[in-house]
Symmetry: C2
Subunit: 392 residues, 2 copies
């Protein structure tokens, strides 16, 4: 009746553990206590309630489990509460202990800190962010699989529209198609400030409503408690319809945006959409290992300016501060493609590029693709057709 805790192969587990230990050493961490769902999933292949204690050096990590009750394996120790950890470890006192301080609530960190009273706390979130930015071959497999499934759903979108639909009604049909294709629904975001349900459809003028969240695009939303995305308007002739829906099919996400229309869009909108494709192609070709992220951002902005489209680039009434972002288990991983980002592209980074435009009177246009950074540039994992398709 027991299930194995570790769902990664031993090789994959050791690969990830080695990456973490290398990063711990560079950060001067003598031990790390991992506590977040995303990082526990990264290190074991499953989410459980508990902790992983990783000592520096060669000793094996300990998996402390609170729930579920039926996991087993080497170094799996059941605890009722974290206060049972010190005794189980023989009251170790590493000089520096890494905790996930950027993502774990203050009260929980101070509780964990008290388990190692003579240790100095250092930022384990930064360590794990760096490690997770470079995907392993198994992670890339899972991301590629999400891309294939998401593409299958996106190809069906033109068949889901019916005359007279609201933006919400179309979104609901795309949500349904995604779920039936295996989309897990959960949209994981690091940090406490961003919220989104299954992604975003932006139609017409609603695309120009500023949002509180740090996404590339806005929208009024259905309610001021979740002010982002579709707002229940009927889709009208001349509107653009930007679809940016959850690509989490495997625990790992791809991020893809495509633009549809009801009839013909304005010349500016068509031009801006072509510009978005041009920016994606250009950045993908330039995005080789060693490239500084801010250079990619600047080039994107230059291309938009060169076409006289800067006014609409990454939003009109409110602009987003980036043109791309790393992703994997969460939607906001490293590297960030932003004006002041000194992140250096590395083989194995997975990055979504989303050069989008908001054209008053028409709506949002542009595309988004997810890429893996390779020796020869960025390889696209989200391959649905990129041109604007009219739904009528």
């Amino acid at each position: 009746m027991k299930r194995p805790l570790l769902l990664l192969t031993p090789d994959e587990f050791n690969l990830r553990l080695d990456k973490v230990r290398d990063a711990m050493q560079r950060a001067g961490a003598d031990a790390m206590l991992v506590s977040g769902n995303a990082t526990i999933y990264y290190l074991t292949g499953r989410v459980y309630a508990g902790y992983i204690y990783i000592p520096a050096g060669d000793s094996a990590p300990t998996f402390f489990v609170q729930r579920p009750v039926d996991l087993s394996g080497d170094n799996v120790t059941y605890i009722r509460k974290p206060e049972h950890i010190p005794e189980s470890l023989g009251y170790v006192s590493p000089e520096n202990i890494a905790l996930e301080t950027d993502t774990t609530p203050y009260s929980k960190i101070t509780r964990l800190q008290a388990l190692f009273p003579s240790s100095t706390v250092i930022n384990g979130s930064a360590i794990m962010r760096g490690v997770r930015a470079i995907k392993t071959p198994r992670e890339i497999e899972l991301i590629e699989l999400s891309g294939v499934k998401q593409e299958r759903v996106y190809r069906r979108i033109p068949h889901l529209y019916q005359a007279g639909m609201t933006d919400l009604e179309l979104q609901v049909e795309i949500e349904r198609a995604s779920r039936l294709e295996g989309c897990l629904g959960q949209f994981r975001i690091s940090g406490d400030s961003m919220e989104l349900y299954m992604g975003n459809i932006l139609v017409g003028e609603n695309a120009d409503t500023p949002t509180p969240y740090d996404f590339a695009m806005g929208g009024e939303g259905l309610d001021p408690s979740l002010p982002v995305g579709c707002n229940g308007s009927i889709i009208k002739e001349g509107n653009s319809i930007m679809v940016d829906i959850n690509g989490n099919y495997t625990g790992y996400m791809t991020d893809m945006t495509r633009t549809f229309s009801l009839g013909q869009l304005s010349d500016t909108a068509i031009k801006a959409h072509r510009c978005s494709i041009e920016i994606c192609r250009t950045l993908a070709a330039e995005g080789k290992p060693g490239t500084e992220a801010c250079l990619l951002y600047r080039h994107a902005e230059e291309i938009a300016r060169g076409h006289g489209l800067y006014e609409y680039f990454m939003g009109h009434r409110q602009k987003a501060g980036f043109v791309g972002h790393g992703l994997g288990i969460e939607i906001n991983e490293l590297p960030v493609i932003a004006p002041r980002s000194h992140d250096i592209l590395t083989e194995g980074n997975v990055v979504a590029l989303e050069p989008k435009f908001v054209i008053p009177g028409t709506g949002a246009v542009g595309i988004e693709n997810t890429y893996i950074v390779t020796e020869t540039g960025m390889k696209c994992l989200t391959c649905a057709p990129e041109d604007i398709v009219s739904l009528i």
Copy 2:
């Protein structure tokens, strides 16, 4: 082109502010800096990126906004980053400053703490939890409205089943019906450890799979990255089908569970379902202001024991540690109806009671309702039929 920041009526805003100030005084807080989406929504009627500074006494709060760019109103101040707050406030230094330490990441709290270098930080999450446990008349209106809409969807469930469906396929149709009825989707949970997408359908044996999350019921889920809920099995004759789907239609949630079946269930399952209804009725009648939450839990357990059903009560292989919970903006508010909970029921509490049973070979049975605590007991807000309905 500007939108008003405050979406509450002045009376409603003042009512909530007075409640917060009373609680701040009891906790010895000289000021509070509110930073969470749920609490900003509570105090303004909208989510925005920023902060609210509330001084003790009669001075007006200041609304510090980072995004969206187009909000206006009294005491609305735009900032680029929280480090601009001290100057704007004239470098105040309250002796104690309340911050939301239970829900805000450690790094963000230490950043906010540095804005008030001579102040002692106290737990603002506890203050806001206590305030939000007692709903205002406007909040009750919104919760009642969610209950009405959720009921409408639940009544349609028997029409959504088709022969041969998997648990996922049925769940997707209920998700779609919910969304078309106006469900916002977002399932707000306080804290960093629980995750759920749109709720849960548990069919047959899958109900007995333990989960890492602190929900009343489990389920294997579709993927080890989100191990809860339906697992893609085909619904079979003799299975129970427990439906517990997101009731967030207004920014405020109701929580309702109903049990369906494919054909006749076992006698034990039917008996346990009746026992669940009996527990709900009994606790609702007893749940008057002044009742200690642990007494309600103990009575629920006694009733289950009296029917010889304790083995299945609140789970079989893994048991949940509670039979009810407060809810509102988030699914896990106060009071908690648990064995050691000293929460005292108060008029205006909104509580979900979910005495559920997992019967091996059949699945999960029982109901869940959301109630408002009134002078005369708990009044039910989720009024779909409670008996088991066969889908064939």
